[in-house]
Every structure is written in C-alpha cells, then in structure tokens.
Symmetry: none
DNA sequence: CATGAATGAGCTTTCATTCAT
DNA sequence: CATGAATGAAAGCTCATTCAT
C-alpha cells in the first residue's frame, strides 16, 4: 500500500541521505574541505540535489548543525537521574557526557568548525531563537537541581555555580576527544585506549565531586 | 654596516612575513579555507614565493605549527615559579595557561585544525622526533614537581596524577576559548567579558586546588 | 457572480502577471540575463508555470514582444491628428513618439535585444504574418498622408519620402533614450533632465519641419 | 632574432587573441549570452587565461569597451576635413560616421549592451576619467568648428547647437544599423542593400544641411 | 637566488527544462 | 487544469601547483 517508493518517502530518504553524508564529510574535512562533490558522492546522489533540498552549501551546513543539536538534545532527554541521590546522579551526568562525546566525535569537529567561523552559521538557522535567547540544555538544568538537592542534604557546599560545574564537565570531556591526536604526540602515549579514557573519566568524576562537596563529606 | 636591505635579511623578512600571514590566515579559515592566495596577499607577496620558501601548502602549514609550538615553548620558559610554594605556583600555572590561550586564540584554532586532520601534518615535520617520542612540555614537568613538593609538605594528597592535573588545566582553559562562540549562544550570555573569564578562572583555580589538596588543608 | 476568484480569471491573472514580470525582467537584463527564476520570482509564481502558459523561455519572450508591439499599436491608435494642419500634426507625431519612448524605455531595450539576436524570435510568433509581410504602422501611414496634404497646400516640398521622415523621427527619439547612459558620460552632461530632453525634442521638430518644408514657408 | 615565440610576445598574442574573440562574442551574444567558454574557444585558449589576463568576466568586458572606444577614436583621428568648406566637410563627417557604423556593427551592439546595464561597466574602467569628465570626441569638436566657419561665411544660420547636430548624425546612423532586423520586418523591405542605405544616407545629409543652412543658401 | 608566466582540475552555484501525477 | 519533484548541463570562478628563465 504505502510502500517505500512513494515520492514523499523517496524525497525524505534522499534528503536524509544527504544530511547524513554531509554530517560525516563536514566532520571529517571541515566546512571548506567538505566539498559538495564529496558529500553528494557519499550520499549516492548528485550536487544538484543539495541545492534542491538545502538551497546552498551554507544551508546544508546549518541543517547539519541543527540536526546535531537535535540529536544531542534527544540523548539528553533519555538520561535518567535519581533526584534523591545527587552524588550518584552527578557522576551519571559526567559519564553520560563523556560517553556521548566519545561516541559522537563528529559533534566535536562540527562545533569546532562552527567556532572557527565565529559562530556565524547557527544564527542563520530559521529555527534559531532571537538573539539573546539561548538553546535550552536540559542537562544544565538537571545539574542545577542536583546541586541544590545536595546542599539541602548537607552534602554539597555553597559556592560553585551550576554553570561552572557544567562547563567543567563539558570542557574535560570535550578537550580529551577534540585534541586526542595532538595530545597523544604531546604526551607520548595513546589516549584512545579504554584504560586511558577510564582513568581520565574517573579523575574528572572525583574532581567534580570534590569541588562541590563539603569538607565533611570528603572525610568519610 | 649590516642594514636591513641586505639580500639575506630581505629573504628572511619575506619568509617571516609569509609565515606570520599564514598563521593568521590558517587560524581564521582553517587549512582548506586558508588559500595560498589569501596568504600571499596578506603577506604582500606572491603565491610563488610560498613554494620557494616552504615547498608546498602542507610544508607551510607544518612550519606554522612548528613555529606556534616554539612560541608556546618560549613563553613557558619565561614562566617563573616558586618551588617552595606549590599552592601559589599551581595557581600561577593555571593563570598563565589561561592568559596564554586568551591572548593567542590562533593557537587554539590551529590545534583544532590539526586535530581535525587527525594530526597527520605534524609527524611530517623534519624537526619532529621519531614516532613514539613526544614534544617536551616544561610546564607539565613543573606541575609534577609542584605536586611532589606539596605532598612532601603535607598539603597535597596522594592520588592525582600530574598528567591528569595538567590536562584539566589545559582542558578548562582551552575549551572556554575554543568554544566561546557556540557557548555564548548556548548559555545565553557573553563569555568574552573580563568578568565572566575571571569567574571561570577563579573556579578552575579553586577546583584544581581542591582536587589535589588534603582534606586537612581544605578545612583551614 | 463572476467574481475575481473564478478559475478562469485566476488563470488569466497568473498568465498576465508572468507576462508583465517577464517584460520588466527581459527589459532590464536582456534575454540571456533574464532568467526564468528572476521572472517567476518577480511574478510571485514558479518556473513551472512559465512552461505551462508559454511553453518555453523563447515562447515567453515572443509573447513579450507581441504584447509590446500591441501596446505600442494601441497607443498609436489613440493619437489624434488634424489632417488639415500638416505642420502642427507632424509636430504632434514627433512629440508623441518621443514621449512614448521616454515613458516606455523597456520598449527600447526589448527591441535592442531582439535586434542583437538578429530578429530571430519575432518570425516565430504564431501571430506574425508570413515572411515578407510587415507589421502595419498606422503612424507611418499618417505621416505619408500629412506629407501629401502639405504638398497640396504648398507648404511641403517634393522629395522627402514618408519612410525617411518617419525613420528620422524614430531614430532621433530612440537613440536619445537607448544610449542615454553612455551618452551622458560621453557628452559629460546629464541627459535625463526635462530641460535637456526638451531642447533635443525642439531641435528635432525644427529639423524635420525644415527638411520637408518649401523654402518659401521657411522664410515666414 | 627576436622572433614571435618570445614569452612577452606570446603573452601579448594570447591576450590580444582573447580580446578580439571577446569583442566578437559579446557583440553577438551580449554580456550574459557571451560565455567565457564561447570566448576562450574562439580565442583558441582556455577559460583560465581570461582570469589570468583580465581578472574577471566583467574585467574582460570593460577591456573590450575600452578597446572599442580606442579604435573609434583612432578612426576619427584619421578623418581629414577641409575647414574652409564647411558644407562639404559636414557631409564628409556624416558619411564617415555612417560608414563606420556599417563596418563595425559590433560597436553598436556593445554600446547597446552597456546601456542595458545602465552604463555600469565603463565607470569601473581604470582608464576612465573621474565622474563628470567626459570622453573627448574629436569629431564633435570638428562639427562645432565647421558650424562656426559656416556662419562666418554666411552659409549657416545661428541656432543649431553643435551638440544637437552631432547627436542627430549619430542617432540616424546608429538607429539604422542597430534596428535593421526589426525595421526590415516592420517596413517590409530589406534595409541591408546598398541602395537602401545610400538613400537613407543621402536623406540625412540633406536634412542636416537644411537644418543648419540659411534660407538663402537653400534657394540656390 | 629569485620570480613572472602559465595551467589543469576542481569549486559552488544557476541554468532551462522534463517527469509524474 | 494545475503543480511539486527532480535533473543534466553549463555557468563564472578559485584552487594548488609547475614551467622556464
């Protein structure tokens, strides 16, 4: 009846195929290095289709960024936390972020690319909010609530802002993946091993917990 | 008699001019986006000269990376630390790194670019060591020594590896500069202000110290 | 009951809208420069509709030319002349032509475009006569009759052919509008002013009358 | 010794070849219709060379316009007039202009093209004067002097401005060539014959002389 | 030692048009 | 009667690089 050769579904399939190919190619070669030829070839389509669906190379890149944020947001939504156990939950958040970055290195490269361009693509997104408004991060909200609960339970000290704690999680997770090639040379050791990653992740968990905890909690 | 119009000095001046222009252009547009035309124009020279001095686009990029590492190394050499006061010195290291990144954002973008290319340019450097060896970081060595001294003084706990402490400093400093454009939108606040940067820097100082310190030291 | 949302009228409205947009766009950008995209956008329609109503780009251009000739013809029909006063009527003809060109510069550019293409579009018009036949110009007939009357009244001399007199009127009016941009630079003066146009028009009226008049008439 | 395969002369030859091909192609297809591919093919060169020598399509078109004006200027310089015989000289001017247009129809089409673009290319010419200044026409100066001499000799009347007389010559010569295709259909006769052209030229000579002459001179 | 001249391959984008219902 | 979807071909232009002296 409504099989997969329907025009509408074929349309969606081609568009989707280009979007995925573009994500891969842009993540590997950057914006300038990611030629439309590479992308359309990877999508088993032709250059012209990119213009048909996305209007321009920039339009395609914006769509890739949007899609990337959307997928990240969806993953965050699936994260389950126990509001009554802030210590365990904070650790869960950290391990979630690290795991996500490790599994989605394209997320890292795309963001770096956009930052190299001084963030000028994203504001052009039709879905982007008005300037001044921000993309909501459910996880950052969760961190804020966990810190509050921890304080109520006498486990966490006053002081650390949710923003800073959250940024620290992002920074440590991001940097390790983003700079793994130069760091490996720089440190003279392979950072891609499970062991090295695990050690780093444990260290970050410990550090974050130490910076939010009361001295009392640390003694136990 | 050795004035600046000597052929040799003119030569060096042209080479130098190209190298600096290339650093700026690659840092702004990336490797693929940084065309030889843009570079030679910025250097007030011509494309042909790039080949004369650097052999190829890749050769020029490698020279830029080397020069960038060299300058970073020189800056590290100038860093003065008091080996007897590990707490103050650790803070000095953090503030030095943050300051350097803030003042040299091109360092960040060039490293991101090289990482996007999976670090394939740097190994081709004629000055690069044999594979397996690493670029020495005087600062990382300094951090290791400070941690040791701190432990001897009973201020720092056993546990944290110098590598992890050092990476945390790099990560937190790096990430803030590298992702400032997308983060500004994401957080809905301007991160480029002195105030915002200062708050973040203070938080990192506190966090790093808390993660290396004994519980005892923290109580005071 | 025959309101404006009738299918038939909507159809005619779309067709009309495309035709007018095409006239503007072709007049501004020429045949090759006037893309179907520009036209359909200006008509607030889509490319496909052009094919629906006009078959091809060439078909549309031919329709534009036909429409242009038709409107010129209609304007000529509205021109009222006093057959008993050939001198005044000749002046009326000249001022009419000049005024029409000034108000319809698109007429000029479209004709230039068609001439650049060596007049190959017009013969393809379904409404065009068989090769050899010509588009009738009521005005040229009028000029012929005025010259005849003038001669009968002893005002005009024998000699000047109606064709030549008429061509001279067209040429002087046409050239001034057609070449106004390059002429303005060439002459170093602005030709678009009322004053400059008026002086030129007066000169042409005088010249045409002098060339058709008997010496006797000129003495008075 | 210095044969034609010298780099310098080869260079000039290629540049020249492109310039001539471009003149032909632009004159035949207009600016938009004259693709760089058509031009480089006609010049037996490749697209890339056009950018090497002229920077852009627009740069090439400007060079074509400049060259065209230069050649027209050179032809005007070669025109010899007898200052003591203003009547004969005026006729010589007219026949020269008509002959030039007839032999250089590309001049006409290129000017029409530039006027369609509202004269926006020529001002970009590096050789173009400052806005307000004009390209000098030696012929228009000559016409002015002839009119003056004629008045001194009592042959020409006061009144007609040199500018208007000159414009009339240009207009009548230009229009006939420019619109020959549509006019042939319109008038229903072939205008390309020697006879038709001659008749028109004679009529213009007569008309111009009648408009500048005193009544007295006309009686003889 | 230094450089002007030349170039093949690739880039993003737009063109007029047809397909399919 | 009307239109959304799709497309091959060509457009203007820039790319990194080599030639030749």
């Amino acid at each position: 009846m409504d099989d997969s050769t329907t025009p509408a579904s074929r349309t969606r399939a081609t568009r989707e195929s280009i979007l995925r190919a573009a994500t891969r190619v842009f993540a590997r070669y950057g914006y300038d290095g990611g030629s439309l030829d590479k992308i359309s070839r990877a999508a088993k389509s032709v250059d012209r289709m990119i213009y048909y669906y996305f209007g321009s190379k920039e339009g395609l890149f914006i769509a890739v960024l949007e899609d990337m944020y959307r997928r990240m947001g969806e993953a965050e939504m699936r994260l389950e936390l126990d509001p009554r156990d802030p210590v365990a939950s904070l650790e869960t958040v950290i391990r979630f972020v690290f795991r996500y970055y490790r599994r989605h290195p394209e997320f890292i490269v795309l963001l770096n690319t956009e930052n190299m361009h001084r963030g000028r693509h994203l504001p052009k997104s039709p879905r982007a909010r008005a300037p001044g408004e921000h993309f909501p991060s459910p996880t950052m909200g969760a961190v804020a609530r966990l810190l509050e609960t921890g304080r109520e339970q006498g486990l966490f000290r006053r002081g650390p802002a949710a923003r800073d704690v959250y940024l620290m999680i992002l920074a440590t997770g991001y940097f390790y993946v983003s700079n793994r090639y130069t760091l490996s040379r720089f440190l003279g050791e392979d950072m891609d091993t499970e062991e090295a990653q695990g050690e780093w992740e444990d260290f970050v968990v410990e550090t974050v917990l130490r910076t939010v905890s009361t001295t009392k909690r640390l003694e136990h």
